[in-house]
Structure formats: structure tokens, C-alpha cells
């Protein structure tokens, strides 16, 4: 009597609060130990044992029909970059609660995850939350949801996770509408990994959903993508504390501990089977995580480089998608070229590095992955402008995405204009209701990794939501623009851009650098160039005076100290050819184009 389900919701639409009510309603957490957002906070408050988030929690539930059920609530990451992880979480479920704020309506990411759930043949239970709010418009948004899903507005449940109203009815619906898992108990064991988390004390904790057979403790298991064999140290369920069990049977959800130390050895989407008499066919759908957005990360203080390396090594334990390799920049010193699933992933990594590891970082402008066909027929994958070939190329392919934007209809014009500027092609447009529109565009990924999201938010006063998924590639007329200081290229500022935007990029960067770089003894031209062709130029005039007019007895100590300070400051100067550039200038030039938080 198992029901496996997840909750699909936009951030702040009340998923955690609803989970709290379910914990209480099913009695797994008593009133005394209940606290808000129980599952979310567990990892921070617990100092020992397995640090669990709400990856999966087992809720025993006695329904109105008198039958005892086991409900497994499986968490899905809500982020646009983690579509693959979301799809694996969904694959572990038979049903999904689609939770929408009754005062806000559905958002683009929720919509995208809904489509994913429908593709996975999940039973959808649409729910409007926060009906207790004065601003709630349950009738309006019920009509919107019904329109999207193709059901009757009357089928949409209305709850308040805050007050608990409607939660009992929702649990009953889960039991009655979501089908029980189906699997062959006698077949060789097959379990789907839907999450994998590194824990300081226990190593990697792997979350699985058993599809066929049984995973028993003290067994040896095989990861089918790699064939790696591990000893099972512990099998258990979370309810809501981790509880060791003898094994997990068909349809059950729980955790495995094998003692491995790196989530790369226990990958989301992989199939776990028994080491002996195991399954021969893996469950479908496994993919290697593939980074799509690349950026250089450098410590602002060069001496922090070893700390940055250690911090990346540690983050990697818990992030199978993060890739990085050492990189040296003339302008920024020693750092790492990092690959991310997408923009959000990049921001999360950077934020964790800065916050959890106390590092001050500068990142170069993000770029995407390009496939370059050379004239001689050779193919080249470019993730860094420095790898872009200087000679003529036959074709360049860039990744494209299908973007879904949900926004109030009054802003449609300005957002279409933005998408147009970003080389978008309109795929379709739907009115979700009178006031809300869904826009679908094909856009080059490169055009949204810059500041697209910020632009979108500012043009819609924060009301638009965005989701995108990679859909392939297209050939495009792309060029590399180099920025030259006194004739020498500055690596950190090279960018691959569409030919039509080369001038705009060049003008913007040269103007900015002219303001940021102090005058030198000689005139310094700042040029933007495509290959050897200069497309725009600014000039920093030569410095003519740098002298202290007066230096008598009382001035000497002060003057010497100033000189010593300048010498110290000179260590933070980078030489680009003959030109001295303060590191602050590089940072300022890069930070205005970086993706904002």
C-alpha cells in the first residue's frame, strides 16, 4: 500500500509548509517537536548523523477507508538548471502534487516541471495553496490551472498549508488517485538513484526508489553505469529520522550508505543492482551531467588560490555536475575554468564558495560551449574564448534553448523586444488567463547567460518568470572579440559574440577600460579587434605629471611612507605588456557584466 509522490511548486508557494502539515497529520512528528519547515532545517540543526534534507520522507498514513498506507514524499530540486535531476526525482514517483499559490498563479519553472511530470506519466493532483490569504484569488487561478492541465476547475483542491485546511482531503486524494507502484518482486533488484548527498560523517548517502526485486542490507551492490561494486553498510528509510532497515522492497523509497566519499561514484539516474545475480538491463534515462556554461573563477587575493582549490574539491563531493580545471589568466592570475549546468548552478556554486568558504572571487563573463567546424573538416569544442580558432572556420554551432516566460500581459511588448534583441525566435504565445501570458521562444543559450534574467525582471517589475531547456544547436555567425591594451590582448576580456554584436561589445569594454585604467607614462590605445581587424578604439592619454612639488624636512617621512605604500600597491598591479593595470580595474570591468545575484 505504497504511494510515491512529489510536490511541484515554485519557491515560496508553500511546499515546505505543506510538508510540515503532512508530517503532523500523519503523526511522524509530534506536536512537541514540530517546528516550521522541519525537513528543510534539519541539515543545519543536526550536527551529527546523516544530514538529510527533504530528499525523501516516509509517512505512514491510516486513511478514512481504514487502510494503512505508506506515503513516500520525494523532494524535487526546483531549479531550472537541474531539469535532469528533476526528471529523475519524478521518475521515482507515480504522482505529483502541483502546488500553486492562490495569490500568484503558476510560474514558468512550475509549468516546466509540470510538463516533465506529464511526460513521465505521473498522476497530477492540482492544488491551490494559501487560500487563507486576503489576496488569494482561488477561483481565478483554478480556472488558469484547469486551462493548463485540461481538467475542470472543480477538480482543483484548495488548501491552506498554514492553517491545515484541506490537507486531510489532499492526503485522501493522494491515496485514492495516485496508483500504487508496480514491479516484479522476484526479478533481480533494480533501484533508481534519484539523489545522492555527501555527508561529513557517513560519506555519500544515496537515495533510491526500488523498482524490481529487493535491496537487502549487508549485500554487495553494483552501480550499473560504471560496474563499480560497493559493500552496503546500511539501508534504511527516513521517517523523518534515518532508520536502518533490513532491506527495501518493490516500490519502496529509502537510503543506502556504502562508504564512498564522492557523489560521482553514486550518480543520479544510475541503476543500483545486486552484485551477484544482478539485473542485466538498467532502468532507462541515465545521463552524464553535462556542463553547458563555463566561466573562469579567480580569487581576488591571489594568495587564496589554494583555498579556492580545496573549496572546489569539497563542493565537488556533493555536486556531480561541477567540473573545473586550473587556468591561468594574464589579468587575473591563477584560477579555475569551471563548467556548470547553467546560470543558476553557476551562481549557487559561486555563492557557496564565497559564503561557506569565505572567499572573495571574481568571475569572467560566462560563455557557452561551441562546436567549431574548421575549414579542413576538423571539429573543435570550444569552452573558452582562448580556444577559439584564429583562422577562418567553416561553421560554428551554438547551443539553443526553448525558453518559457510567464508574465503579466501588459509587459508582452517589452519582453518580446528583449527576446528579439537576444536573437530569439517566437515559438508561440498563450493567454493563461486575461492578464497572464506564456511566451515560448527559441533563444541562443549564450544570449541568456549574460544578463537576460535581470533584464527580464527589470522590464516586468519582477513579475516575469523564466524557464528554459536545452533543445539543440544552431549554426551562427559568431566571432571572437579581443580587447587589446597597447597592442597586447587581455585574455579575461575576450568574448565570443554574434558578429552583429561585436561592435557593441567592443565599444562597451573599451569605454569602460578607459575610465578604469590609470594614465601611464605613454599613450595607451585600447582596441577591440576581430582577429587582426580593429573595430573600435579609445585612447588613454599619457600621464604628464606625477611628482610631489615640495619635499622638505617635514615632508620626508610622509613621502617615504607613501612610496612604500605605493610599492605595496604595485604588487596588486598586473602588467599587460608595458601597461600597469590595477587589479581593481579588471574586477570593475568584469563585475558589471557578470550575472547578478
Amino acid at each position: 500500500m505504497i504511494r510515491n509522490f512529489c510536490i511541484i511548486a515554485h519557491i515560496d508557494h508553500g511546499k515546505s509548509t505543506l510538508a510540515d502539515r503532512m508530517l503532523q497529520a500523519t503523526g511522524v512528528v509530534d506536536e512537541r517537536s514540530m517546528r516550521a519547515q522541519y525537513l528543510d532545517r534539519m541539515d543545519i540543526e543536526r550536527e551529527r548523523g546523516i544530514t538529510i534534507k527533504s530528499q525523501a520522507v516516509r509517512l505512514p498514513y491510516r486513511a478514512d477507508d481504514g487502510v494503512s498506507y505508506v506515503l513516500n514524499l520525494i523532494d524535487t530540486p526546483g531549479h531550472v538548471d537541474f531539469t535532469y535531476e528533476v526528471s529523475r526525482s519524478l521518475a521515482a514517483c507515480e504522482g505529483a502534487v502541483l502546488l500553486v499559490d492562490a495569490a500568484q498563479g503558476i510560474e514558468a519553472q512550475t509549468l516546466a516541471n509540470l510538463y516533465l511530470a506529464l511526460e513521465n506519466d505521473l498522476t497530477i493532483i492540482p492544488v491551490l495553496n494559501k487560500i487563507d490569504l486576503p489576496a488569494a484569488q482561488p477561483e481565478k487561478y483554478a480556472a488558469e490551472l484547469a486551462h493548463i492541465i485540461g481538467c475542470s476547475p472543480a477538480d482543483i483542491l484548495k488548501v491552506s498549508a498554514k492553517t491545515g485546511e484541506g490537507v486531510h482531503a489532499l492526503l485522501e486524494e493522494i491515496v485514492h488517485l495516485i496508483p500504487p507502484p508496480v514491479g516484479n518482486a522476484d526479478a533481480p533488484a533494480r533501484a533508481l538513484i534519484f539523489d545522492s548527498v555527501y555527508d561529513t560523517y557517513r560519506g555519500v548517502v544515496t537515495y533510491v526508489r526500488v523498482v524490481d526485486g529487493r535491496i537487502a542490507s549487508r549485500e554487495r551492490i553494483t552501480m550499473m553505469s560504471t560496474g563499480a561494486v560497493h559493500e552496503l553498510l546500511e539501508v534504511g528509510v527516513i521517517s523523518p529520522e534515518p532508520k536502518p532497515a533490513d532491506g527495501l522492497g518493490v516500490g519502496e523509497v529509502g537510503y543506502l550508505i556504502t562508504g564512498v566519499k564522492d557523489v560521482r561514484q553514486s550518480r543520479v539516474g544510475d541503476t543500483v543492482t545486486a552484485a551477484q545475480r544482478g539485473a542485466t538491463d538498467a532502468l532507462g534515462g541515465y545521463q552524464d551531467p553535462k556542463p553547458m556554461v563555463f566561466s573562469g573563477l579567480y580569487p581576488i587575493d591571489g594568495s587564496d588560490y589554494p583555498e579556492l582549490r580545496d573549496a572546489l574539491d569539497r563542493l565537488k563531493l556533493n555536486d556531480a555536475a561541477l567540473v573545473y580545471e586550473p587556468e591561468t589568466s594574464l589579468a587575473l592570475g591563477f584560477g579555475f575554468r569551471c563548467g556548470f549546468l547553467g546560470l543558476l548552478h553557476m551562481e549557487i556554486v559561486r555563492e557557496r564558495l564565497e559564503r561557506e568558504h569565505n572567499l572573495d572571487l571574481i568571475s569572467t563573463a560566462p560563455n557557452v560551449i561551441y562546436r567549431v567546424m574548421r575549414d579542413d573538416g576538423q571539429e573543435l569544442v570550444v569552452t573558452n574564448p582562448s580556444e577559439f580558432p584564429n583562422q577562418k572556420v567553416a561553421k560554428i554551432f551554438e547551443p539553443i534553448v526553448k525558453a518559457t516566460i510567464i508574465l503579466p500581459s501588459e509587459f508582452v511588448g517589452t519582453v518580446m523586444e528583449l527576446c528579439q534583441q537576444r536573437r530569439g525566435t517566437l515559438l508561440g504565445m498563450d493567454y493563461l488567463s486575461e492578464e497572464r501570458v506564456e511566451l515560448r521562444y527559441t533563444l541562443p543559450l549564450a544570449e541568456i547567460v549574460f544578463d537576460f534574467f535581470d533584464q527580464l525582471k527589470s522590464r516586468t517589475r519582477g513579475y516575469a518568470s523564466l524557464d528554459y531547456e536545452l533543445t539543440g544547436e544552431q549554426d551562427a555567425d559568431l566571432v571572437k572579440v579581443d580587447i587589446l591594451l597597447h597592442g597586447d590582448p587581455v585574455d579575461a576580456f575576450s568574448a565570443i559574440v554574434h558578429r552583429e554584436k561585436a561592435m557593441a561589445y567592443g565599444t562597451m569594454m573599451t569605454a569602460k577600460l578607459k575610465e578604469l585604467i590609470p594614465r601611464q607614462q605613454f599613450e595607451v590605445p585600447i582596441q577591440a579587434a576581430i582577429g587582426s581587424r580593429v573595430i573600435t578604439r579609445e585612447t588613454i592619454r599619457a600621464m604628464r605629471k606625477d611628482v610631489l612639488a615640495k619635499c622638505y624636512g617635514g615632508d620626508i617621512t610622509r613621502k617615504r611612507k607613501l612610496l612604500e605604500k605605493q610599492k605595496e600597491g604595485k604588487k596588486r598591479m598586473k602588467m599587460v605588456g608595458k601597461v600597469e593595470v590595477p587589479q581593481e580595474a579588471f574586477i570593475a570591468a568584469l563585475s558589471t557584466t557578470e550575472v547578478k545575484k
Binding site: Q521, F522, R541, M543, R544, K545, D546, V547, L548, A549, K550, C551, Y552, G553, G554, I556, T557, K559, R560, L563, E564, Q566, K567, K570
Partner: protein, 374 residues
């Protein structure tokens, strides 16, 4: 024994000039506890203390600066000189300078100072343009400097200096040329010309910060420097330090002592001293200073003993300002690049010395940084 210079600081002015951040006080700013009249007694008391610490040693130069020394009156100034003579053997050819504002002297005072042993006098003329003097908040009028220089010559001073400030907001190239004409007409043998520095905490600094007057422009100052450095040598006064031009033999020996890193002893509030790699300075406020010397206690506020490396840095930073330049020891490689860039004189370089070209003088900080590279 290397020659010793004595600097005497007189911390008083009749009024505060808008650009000035020196340790000087008007009657209103001074506050209670100390008086301008009789202040020379405190200075003399410190000379007595210094003599005890220093022992008898020949003094080759004395420089009374400020502030406005002549505000003390001629007799007290001569009294200070007498106190120095009492304790130290003065060299027979000692150079004894006092600073003066054109509007704070008369013939009689000049005669008294000269008779009392002062050999050199320095007038703060700054500019011949009335609107420039107004921005600087100077109280004298154009023309005065020429007049007092004439008086000083008649009184028999051996050397006369005029100070100029250039690059003041509102000054034009022609204003500067007119100032230079005035200086040449005054027939002095020494000119100090300084680019205006707008210091924080001055009235002018606040006006610039508020946007009421533009900040001096570096390119304009460079142009003006070129005008000065074309005009004065043509009139027989070549440069001998970045901001100083003189007829041969009229160079200020006291100031050369600073740039050659000689020893000197500073007397007065806030005065700095240097003796073989040790620097120290007195408490700044005249009240605290007076209280200290009145009790027979050294008014020293703080100081530093220079490391070998710091001494080397100072010797370079100071010496390179002068026309004789500095000996190039281990910095030949860096100097070569500076010769190439036109900042150092190639002839001097060939003889193993670093001597600034005109371009090098305008970019001295760059030269010093290059030559003190680790």
C-alpha cells in the same frame, strides 16, 4: 663631521591662506595658554635643550620658516639667532635664511634682520595675478614683492628668493608669464615654484570638494612647469632641484641639506629633525610645545629609526630631486629603461649617475618607484 642645519619653526600667521595646511595658527586659532608675543622665548628654551643633547657642533645653515616668522618682529628673530650662536659655533660663511610675507616687512625690519646676521630672505609672492591671489586668499597685493625685494637688496641681503605657486584654478598661462616677468623684474637670484596641491581639510580643499572651484589639472600644471623651466634658465637661473631655480652659487644650502640627507635639528612646534638615520618630530600644538619646553622637557612627540633599506629609499627619493642626482649602484638595469623612456639623462647615466630630464622631473614618482623596485 657633516654640516648641521638648524630649522626654526614659527607657527603663526596673520591670517590663514585658503590652500595652506601647515602647522600654523592665527591669533584666533591659537587658543588660550600661549601667546605670540614672547613665543621666541620658548624657541630659545628648546635651543638650550637641543644644545645639551647635541653638544658643540658647527652649524652651517639656519632656516627660520613658518608660518610667518616676521610676525614675531625683527628683534625676537635676532634673539633666536643669538641663542644659536651662544651654543653652537656658526660657520664663518653660514647661510641664515628667514621667510617673510611681502606685507609683513618694512625697510627697518629688513635692516635689523640683516644687521642681526640674516643673509638670505625668502618672500612668498605666489602670483602677480590679483584673481589668483584671491583664490589663494593671500593678503598682499601684486607689486609688493618687487618692492620688498628691492628693499632687501638695499639692506644688503646676499640672496633673495621669491616663492611662486602655479596651477591655481583660474590662472592662465599668461598670468604665470606675468608672474615670471615680475620675478625677473624684482631681480632676485633664487625662485621656488610649486604646483598647487589642494590638501584635504583646507578651505580650498572644501571648495574643490563642493565643486565651487575646479581641481588643478595635471596636464595644465605640466604645461606651466615647462613655461617656468624655459623662462628662468634663460634668465640665468638653471634648475637645481625639481621646484627650485637659482643663479649659480645662490642655491639654498639649507634645503640642499634635506635632499642630501644631511643632519638637521628642528626647533619649534611640529618641527622635524634628522640625525644619521634617525628622524623625530615635536608635538604640533604651540600650547603643548610651550608647556613642555617650559618644564625643560624635550617636546619630542614621536620618531623612527630608519632601517638600512629605508635609508637607501630616502637617499634616492631625495637625492634624485637635485641636479647632481644620485649615484647608481645596483639599479643600472632599471635606470637603463628610464633613459630609454626619456626620464633620465643619458650623459649622467654614462657616468653612473641618475639625473632627471625635464620629463623625468615631471614624472619623478615614476622614476623613484622604478629605481626602488624590489
Amino acid at each position: 663631521m657633516t654640516p648641521l642645519g638648524i630649522y626654526v619653526h614659527v607657527p603663526f600667521c596673520a591670517s590663514r591662506c585658503g590652500y595652506c595646511d601647515f602647522n600654523t595658527y592665527t591669533a584666533q586659532e591659537l587658543g588660550p595658554g600661549v601667546d605670540r608675543a614672547g613665543f621666541h622665548e620658548h624657541l630659545i628654551a628648546e635651543i638650550d635643550l637641543a644644545a645639551g643633547a647635541l653638544g658643540p657642533r658647527e652649524v652651517s645653515t639656519v632656516f627660520i620658516g613658518g608660518g610667518t616668522p616676521t610676525l614675531l618682529g625683527a628683534d625676537p628673530l635676532v634673539g633666536i639667532l643669538d641663542a644659536i650662536r651662544r651654543h653652537f659655533p656658526l660657520a664663518p660663511d653660514a647661510e641664515i635664511t628667514t621667510e617673510a610675507n611681502p606685507d609683513s616687512v618694512d625697510r627697518e625690519m629688513l635692516d635689523t634682520l640683516r644687521a642681526g646676521g640674516v643673509t638670505r630672505i625668502s618672500f612668498g609672492m605666489q602670483s602677480a595675478a590679483p584673481h589668483v591671489l584671491a583664490v589663494l586668499e593671500r593678503t598682499h597685493t601684486p607689486g609688493m614683492a618687487r618692492e620688498v625685494a628691492g628693499w632687501a637688496r638695499e639692506s644688503g641681503f646676499e640672496h633673495i628668493n621669491i616663492d611662486l605657486i602655479y596651477g591655481t584654478p583660474g590662472e592662465t598661462d599668461d598670468d604665470l608669464r606675468a608672474s615670471l616677468d615680475e620675478v625677473l623684474a624684482a631681480d632676485v637670484d633664487h625662485v621656488s615654484a610649486y604646483a598647487l596641491i589642494v590638501e584635504d581639510g583646507t578651505a580650498l580643499g572644501r571648495r574643490v570638494a563642493r565643486g565651487e572651484v575646479p581641481a588643478p589639472d595635471d596636464d595644465v600644471c605640466a604645461d606651466r612647469y615647462v613655461i617656468i623651466d624655459d623662462t628662468l634658465p634663460a634668465a640665468g637661473m638653471p634648475w637645481y632641484e625639481i621646484s627650485n631655480w637659482a643663479r649659480p652659487g645662490a642655491e639654498c644650502r639649507h634645503n640642499l641639506g634635506y635632499w642630501r640627507n644631511a643632519d638637521w635639528w628642528g626647533i619649534g612646534p611640529g618641527a622635524h629633525s634628522h640625525r644619521s638615520g634617525e628622524r623625530w618630530w615635536n608635538v604640533k600644538h604651540p600650547t603643548r610645545y610651550a608647556a613642555s619646553v617650559a618644564q625643560g622637557v624635550s617636546p619630542r612627540d614621536d620618531g623612527e629609526t630608519l632601517t638600512r633599506e629605508q635609508r637607501a629609499t630616502e637617499e634616492l627619493m631625495l637625492g634624485v630631486r637635485t641636479r647632481e642626482g644620485v649615484l647608481l649602484a645596483d639599479a643600472r638595469h632599471d635606470a637603463e629603461a628610464l633613459v630609454r623612456d626619456g626620464l633620465l639623462d643619458p650623459h649622467a647615466f654614462a657616468e653612473g649617475r641618475a639625473v632627471l630630464t625635464r620629463r623625468g622631473r615631471l614624472l619623478t614618482n615614476q622614476v623613484v618607484r622604478a629605481l626602488t623596485r624590489d
